[in-house]
Point group: C2
Chain length 115, copies 2
């Protein structure tokens, strides 16, 4: 297991599934903001963990996990998060989708490397 995986408690908990297509704009600024927001969210009430990746085509998926919908709403209201969302809409993304889900079951399937 590596650091890309979130270590989460047993369900139930909530997932914010954020899919996004990056524009080619402002890579350095985008990367710095994303890193800063990740530091911020780690200190938010009810934040459980997150996983994120983006392919060479600029399509990315981030899943952030929280203990409750109330704490998802609280993070949404965070001032720096709100500013970053506006920048995202005007410059960093060409399309985004956001889905809020309740995680009901979770498994870590066993890996069995061949001899």
């Amino acid at each position: 297991m590596n650091a890309a995986f979130a270590k989460l408690p047993a369900p139930p908990y909530y997932a914010v599934i954020f899919s996004s297509q990056r524009t080619l704009a402002a890579e350095a600024e985008y990367a710095a903001t994303a890193e800063h927001l990740f530091e911020l969210v780690r200190g938010q009430p009810g934040f459980l963990g997150a996983e994120s990746t983006r392919g060479a085509d600029g399509f990315g998926i981030t899943v952030a996990y929280f203990d409750s919908e109330e704490n998802i709403a609280r993070w949404r209201q965070h001032a720096e998060h709100a500013v970053a969302r506006e920048r995202g809409k005007s410059e960093w993304y060409s399309h985004v989708e956001l889905r809020i889900a309740k995680v009901e079951r979770a498994y870590t399937p066993p890996i069995r490397p061949k001899g």
Copy 2:
């Protein structure tokens, strides 16, 4: 919007969130199997759409959407899917996480490009 985004009906529906770390093994075989499974799942009962991406570090997230937990279970039982899972556990992945969630709300935030 590009083809990487799933076009989904209004919630509620179910999400299978699959996070995986690829090994360096068998890239051509892995890619061919992944493409074949994607073709298969598109024909499964209750399949609504999927989004998937993987970064240069080999960490990937795939989210597949279904109309019900019953149809998620049916896809899990598909013979070719089961064979591919076993290959994944023995060769393609070094770690995986699987989470089943009920999507309760979904948004397409408006993108507002600057002049």
